[in-house]
């Protein structure tokens, strides 16, 4: 236990290091986890042959960016698409969060679950399911009569692809909004009401500024997810004429002759966009929002009959569009035996094949479950700690560390996977985790720690450090302050972060494929393999099982964490 008094008597270097120990530790962790592979990637983009010890072709890749046909429109498309997805997610998600946090809507548990289910679907499986529903002669046409051609044309366009992506990610926004609103104290609103403020004034002067950090942080997650998403535009985008940067990068890394240098150079463009989004949203949030407060039991409005119905209808409508529609297609396909016309005869063989104990499918499921569990658990504790240390640090270091932690989330995962291989398979690494299951765990934590960081950050910004100061004046060690003062306050947002991390790790595909040790499968790679082999039914069956399992975890989690007594 190091106290300030004892530190002062030590040699200067030691005392400097010990007062800054947390920041240094965080910096070291981030540099090793994210900085090191990213640096190797960046070097590769500058000197394509550097890993072989040669310095030829300096900046050649960046010159070739300019020569790449259609690069401008690709960059613009990516930006516009990610931006529109974020806005649409806000429009869909904020009312959900509000209804959950601030009203006595019945069936909140189920409403909350309905938000998380769409996040569980692997994006390309979701996109494929929508195609099965919406395509010419698809389920819609068969069951509801011919679809208007205008609707179909709209669906297979920019806005259709945007809607699909937003439907897959508005849950992030809703959960973050709920968490933020739930901790905004009632007394501020009561005070405003007593001073004669109208509902609109209260909203403008109190609710929105206090919510902005959460709004921007969740929006940032959606934005980054869309910016680096490959699945949805890859499946739907070809029909919607939507060339995006991640698809281009994926193509460069997986088609021969490979062009890793150009791919990494293009990835650094994506990073630039992501950093602008990160610092921009932080700046906006601190400029327009802010204010510190202590959480308190939230105030809930009593909804009238009409309002309750509208609220439920909003959830139900979103549930139908985001879940029932694709899941119906997925389930039908997974039990399809023979297709006569557009509707098949049915069989459960595909499920039987997967669920047989000891089969490849069941092993893949088990691997995915514990990997997701471990990655989510490690991510939230590490993420909370990193976010805490960063938020209590001032100056450029704070921004640098924040940026570093965010970047792995935006680089197309195939490139990041290559970077991780370059980093951990290098000849100077004596005991390499590469080709073991630990590599996968490391990758998941590196990629998805951003979620925990963002969630924790949204709460930390409104947490008054006075309590921490009081604790350390009373002699509590740093660790004790973190575990007993900070962590309990972060609990609600960390639970949300655990769930989303668990879910996205369960479905992570691209990095898993390259980093998987031989002989091992995760459920996502299993699905993808079946899909590649043209065995759509088995792929869909596995997707359904994975989603069902994730849902069970969700339900258990939600029910167990239900009595939320504020600490």
């Amino acid at each position: 236990m190091i106290t300030v008094a004892s530190a002062a008597t030590r040699p200067f270097v030691l005392s400097w290091a010990s007062t800054r120990l947390p920041v240094l530790l965080v910096a070291a962790l981030l540099l090793l986890g994210a900085g090191y592979p990213l640096a190797l990637l960046f070097l590769t983009s500058i000197f394509p042959e550097i890993m072989g010890g040669r310095f030829e072709g300096f900046l050649d890749a960046y010159r070739r960016i300019g020569e790449t046909d259609g690069i401008g429109s690709m960059l613009w498309n990516s930006f516009a698409w990610a931006g529109s997805t974020t806005v649409v997610s806000w429009i869909l998600g904020v009312p959900c969060g509000y209804l959950l946090a601030r009203t006595n809507l019945p069936g909140k548990l189920w409403a909350r679950l309905s938000l998380l289910v769409p996040i569980m679907t692997p994006p390309y499986i979701a996109a494929l399911s929508y195609i099965l529903v919406m395509q010419d002669g698809g389920f819609f046409d068969q069951l509801l009569g011919p679809m208007p051609e205008a609707l179909r044309a709209w669906f297979f366009s920019f806005w259709g692809v945007t809607l699909v992506m937003a439907l897959a990610s508005f849950g992030y926004v809703a959960l973050a909004t709920e968490a933020a609103l739930a901790s905004i104290p009632r007394r501020l609103e009561t005070a405003a009401a007593q001073l004669g403020a109208s509902w609109g004034q209260t909203l403008r002067a109190i609710i929105i500024p206090l919510m902005l950090p959460a709004l921007f942080n969740s929006g940032l997650l959606v934005f980054l997810e869309a910016l680096s998403n490959f699945g949805v535009p890859a499946v739907l985008g070809t029909r919607a004429n939507l060339p995006l940067l991640p698809a281009e990068i994926f193509y460069l890394v997986t088609s021969w002759p490979l062009d890793l240098a150009l791919a990494t150079a293009l990835s650094s463009l994506l990073c630039l966009v992501a950093l602008i989004a990160l610092y921009g949203s932080r700046l906006l949030a601190s400029f327009m929002g802010g204010g510190r407060y202590e959480p308190e039991t939230p105030h809930q409005f009593q909804l009238g009959r009409g309002a309750r119905i509208i609220g439920l209808a909003w959830f139900a409508g979103l549930f139908v569009l985001s879940t029932l529609l694709p899941y119906f297609a997925m389930l039908v396909t997974s039990i399809a035996d023979q297709w006569q016309g557009a509707l098949p005869s049915l069989t459960l063989d595909h499920y039987r094949a997967i669920l047989t104990p000891g089969s490849r499918g069941s092993e893949a499921l088990f691997t995915s479950l514990w990997l997701a569990f471990a990655a989510a658990t490690i991510s939230i504790f590490l993420g909370a700690w990193i976010a805490y240390v960063i938020s209590r640090t001032q100056g450029w270091l704070r921004h640098a560390l924040e940026g570093l932690a965010t970047l792995p989330r935006v680089i197309p995962k195939i490139v990041l996977a290559v970077g991780l291989i370059l980093a951990w398979n290098a000849f100077w690494v004596p005991v390499s985790p590469y080709n073991t299951v630990w590599m996968l765990l490391l990758a998941y934590v590196v990629i998805y720690i951003t979620d925990a960081l963002n969630y924790a950050n949204s709460r930390l910004q409104s947490m008054d450090p006075a309590l921490e100061h009081a604790a350390s004046i009373l002699g509590a060690s740093r660790w004790r302050v973190f575990f007993q003062v900070v962590l309990p306050q972060l609990k609600p947002v960390l639970l949300a972060a655990w769930l989303t991390t668990f879910i996205v790790t369960m479905r992570e595909l691209v990095a898993s494929i390259l980093l998987l040790p031989p002989g091992l499968d995760t459920s996502a790679t299993f699905i993808f393999n079946q899909f590649e082999q043209g065995d759509l039914a088995v792929a869909m069956a596995m997707a359904s099982i994975t989603i069902a399992l994730s849902s069970i975890v969700l339900v258990v989690f939600q029910i167990r964490s239900r009595p939320r007594a504020p600490t």
């Binding site: 890993m51 046909d69 259609g70 390309y124 494929l128 195609i131 099965l132 010419d136 002669g137 698809g138 046409d141 051609e149 890859a234 499946v235 070809t238 004429n241 060339p243 193509y251 890394v253 997986t254 088609s255 021969w256 002759p257 490979l258 396909t333 035996d337 691997t367 514990w370 569990f373 471990a374 658990t377 490690i378 996977a417 290559v418 291989i421 370059l422 398979n425 290098a426 000849f427 590469y434 080709n435 073991t436 299951v437 630990w438 575990f483 309990p488 609990k491 494929i513 390259l514 998987l516 040790p517 031989p518 002989g519 091992l520 393999n529 590649e532 082999q533 043209g534 065995d535 759509l536």
Partner: protein
């Protein structure tokens, strides 16, 4: 949440993997590392049998050709693989030019088609497949006797035809490169017209095949046949056809990495891939076995009597053209803003 439960959680998170028993890699000399694209049941069967016969352990990485290439590239300066199997010989050719393969003459290679292999002996085709068209028998196109490529690229059939994206599906990409060699400059107007008449692109083979099986499309242009032949078993409405002017042949080469850690085992594995056992497993997956005297699968046997005509291919020219061609295709055809005729509804 107190500290004890935290420690418990963290311990659980980290402790679980040891329970599953999937621990570190074995870098023994008696371990062979195989990277393989292609049908997974096939490579798993071959690997299992090889392990049993030679009493060694094989670490298998099974993925698509693109993913195998990406992994090889990432491991360029610390190689891990001993043997690679691709679904495209252009990929193998690219690896050979990088100097990453070593020449080897497999035992039993004299019983295979000599012109399927690399003339310099750096890689050898273990199997082949044909890229042609798939149709539905209950739709107009399915009824016509002989088919050729242009039939699917013009109205009225183009609007109900789908093509796997050549930059995403390796086999379709190889077909397009081959088709471009045969067609020359006529390729572009032909495909732009096809697009105008309604040709769609799918992100993957399975998506195109799914569209055909469910009846959303009448035909697939440029699809690799073994996937369709497999579907035929379950969905008799679907049929593989070979265009009269020639199908493209895609071969699945095997090669040994120059920096292989277990070259002896690698050679034994390559030999084994040309054995009767492995070649029968190849045929089982509806691929054309490289070894002569191995019977095709019944589905393939039913699909054609004699071998259909094959489009001529200049491999080194194809490799040189491939990247530029596929990119041009993306820009000028797949993603181009081409006004399309309104699609008529499904029959």
């Amino acid at each position: 949440m107190d500290i004890r439960s935290l420690v418990l959680l963290a311990g659980l998170a980290v402790g679980l993997p040891s329970l599953t028993g999937c621990t570190g890699p074995s870098s023994n000399d008696d371990t062979l590392v195989v990277y393989s694209a292609g049908p997974r049941p096939l490579i798993e069967l071959v690997v299992e049998e090889f392990e049993a016969r030679h009493d060694v352990r094989v670490d298998l990485f099974a993925a698509t050709t693109g993913q195998v290439m990406a992994k090889l590239e990432a491991e360029r300066y610390r190689n891990r693989a001993d043997v690679v199997i691709f679904a495209s010989e252009l990929a193998a050719e690219a690896l050979k030019r990088d100097g990453r393969l070593r020449p080897y003459r497999p035992a039993g290679v004299e019983q295979t088609h000599p012109d399927w292999h690399d003339p310099d002996g750096y890689f050898h085709a273990t199997a082949a497949a044909l890229v042609g068209v798939a149709v539905r028998k209950d739709r107009p196109l399915g009824g016509s006797g002989s088919l050729d490529w242009p039939d699917l690229m013009r109205a009225p059939h183009a609007e109900r035809t789908v093509m796997p994206s050549p930059s995403r599906s390796g086999a379709t990409g190889d077909f397009l490169v081959n088709f471009a060699q045969v067609q020359g400059d006529e390729l572009w107007p032909a495909f732009i017209d096809a697009r105008t008449d309604g040709l769609d692109f799918a992100a993957a083979n399975s998506q195109a095949i799914g569209g055909l099986v469910t009846g959303a499309y009448d035909a697939i242009l440029g699809v690799v046949d073994y996937l369709v032949l497999r579907q035929q078993v379950r969905n008799p409405e679907v049929e593989m056809r070979y265009p009269t002017s020639g199908a493209a042949m895609v071969r699945r080469p095997i090669g040994i990495l120059d920096e292989a850690h277990a070259p002896g085992l690698a050679e034994a594995f390559v030999d084994f891939y040309f054995s009767e056992f492995a070649q029968e497993a190849v045929a089982e997956q509806h691929l054309i076995p490289a070894r002569e005297g191995i019977a095709n699968s019944p589905e393939r046997q039913a699909a054609y009597e004699g071998m259909p005509p094959i489009l001529a291919l200049d491999r080194s020219q194809a490799l040189a053209a491939q990247n530029r061609l596929l990119r041009q295709f993306q820009l000028r055809v797949e993603r181009a803003e081409i006004p399309r005729a309104i699609r008529s509804p499904a029959p």
